[in-house]
Every structure is written in C-alpha cells, then in structure tokens.
Symmetry: C2
C-alpha cells in the first residue's frame, strides 16, 4: 500500500542488509575480533576534547532560549560568519555569513542544493565509481543521474564528462577526496573540468552547477592539496559535513556554500533557505551549530588514517593486490582478484574479510576497503588478505 518506488527500494536494499546480517553471523561464529570489517565508512577516531568542552560551555553559559531556539532557516548568523572566516583563512576565499547555509550534514546540504536547482528531467553528471546514494538524492527531485565512466588510475575523466554532458545537464557532482577511491583531484584536473563547464554552459545557454561534496576535505595524505572549487568555477555549490573531520556523523551538522558569484545569487540563497525549510530540515541542529561556531578550524586527530593507509598499501602491495594509493579520505579501491567483484567479496568472506564489491559504486572489478578501523584490526587481518591472495595465485 506504500509508494511503489519505496517498496522497490526496500526490496533492492535487502542485498546490503543481507551482507550486514551475514557479518553479524560471522562475528557470532568466529568472535568479533576474528572478523575484519572493512565495509563501513564510520570514523574510528574520537571527536577532539574541545567538542565536549564547548558543548558543555554552551549548555552552561549561553542563554538556553538562544541555544535551543529557532533561528533563521539558514542558521545562526554568528556561526555562519565564524565558518566563513575559517574558510577564508584556510583557502583564501572571500565568503561572508550570507554565503553559508548551515545544513543537516552534507546529505542534507546536497538535497537542499538539488531541490533548489533541478527541474524534472534535468541530468546530473556523476563520476564512476561513486557513492550511489547520489542517485537517490537526484531522483528525489526527478533528476536523472548521467554516469561518466572511470578514468585511468582514478584520474578525473574530463574527456568522458564531455561525452556524457548534454543540453539537459543541469549539474555535476564532484567528490574529492573521493569515496570510494581515495582520489584527490589535482588543480590541473579541476581547471580542465571548469573549462569544460564554462564552454558547455555557454554552448547550451544555461547554468551548469558544480556540486562539490566535501566531507573528506581534511583527510589527505602525503601533503595532497584539495583545490577549493569556488575559486575555479563560479557556479559551484559546496556541501560540507563535520561527520568525518570532527567524527560527529550522528549529529547531522554541515553547511552549504553559495558563493556571491553564482548566477542569480540573491534568489539562489533565498531559494536554498526555503528548500531547507520545506524539505523538513527547517534548520541544522542548533547546539551543534553553536559548537561549530566556536571551533571552526578544528578536526579530530586524523593521523590514524594515514597510519592505516601506510600499513595497508605496504602489505597489500607486497601481496600483489593492485591499486592506486589513496591520496585522501579513508578508502582504497583495489582491483578484485577475479573479474566478478561480487564473487570475489563472497570469497573474501570465507577468510572473514568484509569488503564491499566495487559494483556497489558502479566500479566493477574492484572492491572498497574502508580503513577507518583500528590499526590492530588491520594487523590481525593481514593473514586473511595473504590467504585470499594465495587462493587466487
């Protein structure tokens, strides 16, 4: 009796749920310590102590009607100003409070952005492999995902995008550092993409928006730089989340950046605030807005991810797994050791390794390894990776 679309989503979702249930089963049989779960992108490092301190400070010292009350749908002005200044300091941008809307995480921000810009039937480009939840966000507003095939060695496939882009393209979603590959796109790649967007916007006579999904911005390795996209292409909207940088995924706190240079800026900002309201978010959670306002530059101790990456790259490389070393986020995306990645991940489960098939990210022939796990779990799991490799040799 419920919506047919939702019914089919539940039915199709059951494959992943089945995997999750099987993982729990394995843990019951072999003990939780003997099952190596690389399937979840859940931060493994605690929030900095300042989160606790500032939250308590605010609860004890700020007026409670301010802390828990309604504010503008865009969020507290002082918080938005604080975040804007932090961005300006760190990335040389020139934002003010009026360029930010505080959102219910990046997922909330992307939905707000898509609600704001999409007409039914509009196409939104995504770069495979990608976080397929984007498909759901896009189809919430009757948009249609258009998939750009993968580039060589995780490079940004600008030439591929040029082939997929059409007069119906209204937006493009970019995710760097990337889930599931760990790629960080270079300035040269971003410039090439910006050129393409400028050319195509002019050719088709309408704005093509670049939606930058940036929950992993602060998680980078070997000094990789993540270009700030609004500096390269003016019709860029940035969706950010503190879920990974401050290890606060449950709190649902993030923001959307709408630069002043965007077409119809005033209208766009107002429309996004209305979208935030009518989608039912209303505003980002108030206490955590205020926490963010006090510590806009901080992150959790993210060094665990670099340490985990080093160990995995060294050991998996030694065992003969083929992959491009991630430059950011906490994922790697090696080739599966047989062409069918679903079969490969099923085989891995026999060695108590929980891996996600690349197909789940439209990247078949690969698997995703989420290394936001304890270093000890990785050490314990190496023998299983070795046996899995040996099986295929």
């Amino acid at each position: 009796m419920i919506s047919k679309k939702m019914q089919s989503m539940v039915e199709n979702g059951s494959v992943i749920r089945a995997m999750f249930e099987e993982g729990k089963n394995l843990a019951r049989i072999y003990g939780a310590d003997n099952v190596y779960d690389y399937s979840l992108g859940n931060p493994c490092t605690p929030p900095p102590e300042s989160v606790r301190q500032e939250a308590c400070n605010i609860l004890m010292n700020e007026p409670e009607m301010l802390v828990h009350g309604y504010m503008s749908n865009s969020g507290y002005e002082d918080v938005r100003a604080s975040v804007a200044e932090s961005l300006n300091r760190r990335f040389g941008t020139d934002f003010g409070a009026g360029n930010l809307i505080m959102t219910v995480g990046a997922a909330g921000g992307l939905n707000v952005a898509l609600k704001t810009i999409l007409e039914p039937g509009d196409e939104v480009l995504v770069f495979a492999p990608y976080f397929v939840e984007y498909n759901n966000y896009i189809s919430n507003f009757l948009g249609v995902p258009a998939v750009v095939p993968p580039g060589e060695d995780l490079a940004l496939n600008v030439a591929g995008a040029e082939k997929v882009i059409t007069a119906k393209t209204k937006a493009m979603i970019l995710n760097s550092p990337n889930n599931p590959t760990g790629a960080v796109y270079t300035e040269a790649e971003i410039k090439a993409l910006a050129d393409l967007l400028e050319t195509k916007s002019a050719e088709y006579g309408h704005t093509i928006y670049l939606l930058s999904d940036e929950p992993y911005r602060e998680i980078v390795f070997d000094g990789a730089k993540v270009p700030y996209l609004t500096k390269y292409y003016r019709n860029t909207l940035v969706g950010y989340s503190y879920s990974k940088s401050l290890s606060l995924p449950g709190e649902r706190i993030g923001y959307l950046v709408i630069p002043s240079e965007v077409d119809d800026f005033e209208m766009t900002v107002q429309a996004a605030a209305v979208a935030n309201r009518i989608l039912g978010f209303v505003n980002a959670p108030s206490l955590f807005q205020r926490v963010i306002g006090r510590i806009p530059d901080q992150t959790s101790d993210l060094s665990i991810y670099a340490k985990n990456r080093e160990l995995l790259c060294r050991e998996l490389g030694r065992m003969g797994y083929r992959f491009t070393a991630p430059r950011g986020a906490f994922y790697m995306f090696p080739e599966s050791l047989e062409p069918d990645d679903v079969k490969f991940c099923a085989k891995a489960k026999e060695y108590r390794l929980l891996l996600v098939p690349g197909s789940s990210f439209r990247g078949p022939g690969h698997f995703r390894l989420a290394f936001c796990v304890s270093h000890e779990m990785i050490e314990r799991s190496l023998d299983s990776f070795e046996k899995l490799a040996a099986y295929y040799r």
Copy 2:
C-alpha cells in the same frame, strides 16, 4: 537559472518576509517594548533544567563514539524503547522500539511519512484552517492537497471530509491540538473520522492513512484530553516533535510512530527508515536522541500558556472580539473585525499589533494570535487591542 518552482516560492514568500521586515521597522521606530508581536509560534518558556543536566551528563559520561556516532537510520534502539514505554504509560498504547523512527522534528517525520506512502497525483486531505506548510510537504512528493472547509466553531468537519474524499485520497493530515485554531478534537469527532476512513478505505479498496501531526500534544487547557489516534484507526502514523513540549525547536528532534497494526507493517517501517536516509536526514541528531531517551516523560513548565490564554480570552472577550476559546496549543483564532482579514491585520499594525491574517492558514475572516509570548507583553498590548476594537465600533 534555479528551479522555477523554487523561484516562485521565493517570490510568493516575500509577502511574509515583508511583514517581518515591517515588524522590525516598527520596533526601531517605537521601541521593541512597544511592538506586540503575536506572529510567531516560538516557545517562550525555557526547556526544563533536566535537558541541560542530561545533555552534560551524556557528554561527560557516555562513550563519545556512541553519543556522536552513526546508529541505525531509525535511531538508537534504547532511545526508541524508552520513548515507546513513555507513550504506553501515558496513553495505554502497546508500542515497542520497532514502532518508532526518531526524526528531525515533526517536519522531518511528516516528510518521511509522505515520501513513504505517496504516489504522484495522490490526494492528501487537510482541514482548513491549517498550517499551509503541509502543502509544501505534500508537493515535495507530487501529492495534491485537498482542502476540507472549516466546521462550525472549530469542530472537526467530518461531513466536509466525506465530500472531499475521492478514490485518489491516500492520506489525511490531522493536527490536534491545532495550529492555528487551538482546537482539540474530541473522542467522538475522532471516532466519526475513523469510521469515515474505514468506510472509504473499504469502498476504494486501498489504505487511506491518517497522519497525526502532534507537536502540541502536551499543551492543553481545562483538562482537555487528546485522544491517541492509533487506538481509533489502525492505519495512523503519528509525527511528534519535542520543539514545543521541551522548548527545543532548534534541535530538530522528534519521532514517527508506525503501529504494528498498519497495513504491510514490516515493509512500511523499512521504507520509512530508507526515506529518512535518502531524504538526507540520515538520522535524528544523536546527542538529543540520547537526551530524550533519558527524560521521555518531561516537559517544560507549560503553565505560562494557560495563564496567557486566560488573560487574552477574558480581555479580548470583554472588548467584543469573537472567538472560540482554544483548548490546546498556544494559538487563538478570532474573527477579524472587518471581512478582509489582510486589511484588518494591516490596520492592527497601526496599533503596533503584529497578527497573522487567517488567509495565511486558508481561514479568511480571522486572525491568528500566537500567545507564546511574555505575560507582560500581553498586558502592555491590551490597550492596543482595545483601541483597535474601538476603531471598528
């Protein structure tokens, strides 16, 4: 360049914004103390001290990865169990954790419910006068609002609903205690409505859902009882928010109840959890879920609303304003003193009274008075109400 629908929403929204700006203008000219703002439904009583205490306790004593981490999209199981037990204690229901989904306020919950059940073109009945934001929630999912005209003296217009209901009706939204009227529907009214829904579901051969929007459940006067709707009609989904009862509107915390008796229960619960995820809420904010789990029975001190209601009913009644005394929520909905309620509210502004025209709630010929304000403001404003009445005498 943005969505045409959003563009027109911004343009039409500017009437209310203009009113808001004018209010700020008046405050600047006459001083904030001499402008009587009855336009906003924002709680005026602080959260109970236990909110602060429990939030700090949780921050200091519960494991931070639990407090701020991801949990099931439906929310923490222990929190849902705690809320279910509180409902069972207070309303004689029989819910378990599996009947609840923690949501981003009632606005989030209603959007999740509508996403779960609506097909494009489905009609959703609403009872005028009503919170017109429902129209936006409904049209987010391509549903169509069907408006039942007002009943006599704020009574529930069941006969009117019978005339508006069609084979396309998929749901009905009920809001009791009511915004903007303060009505609380009686058990007899609810039974009559449930009968109608049973009859029509059978006649049309499909489920018609009753969506109960209940943010004001705890705010009632003179011992009014608010029937718990799932006990009268099994295909009822309840959307609740702690925004008013705990004065936490900024925190965006509430829940959706899906009773076990609902058609296709398992599918419906799973679909609602998926809807919560893909709409971008992902889950209700985690810290405040845990706060609610510890104090599921508590409310702010709500006595201010009864005190305000008594003063306004006595004094406005004495001045000759005609209204049905509210039985709940913090609104009253008197007749405007001229047929055109928009003109009347403009005239009221000359006396520095900010009132919302009933037309904004599809209830022309009336105005809404939100008495979630300080008692002193009401006392100071009485002279203006008197002069406004005198003008029309």
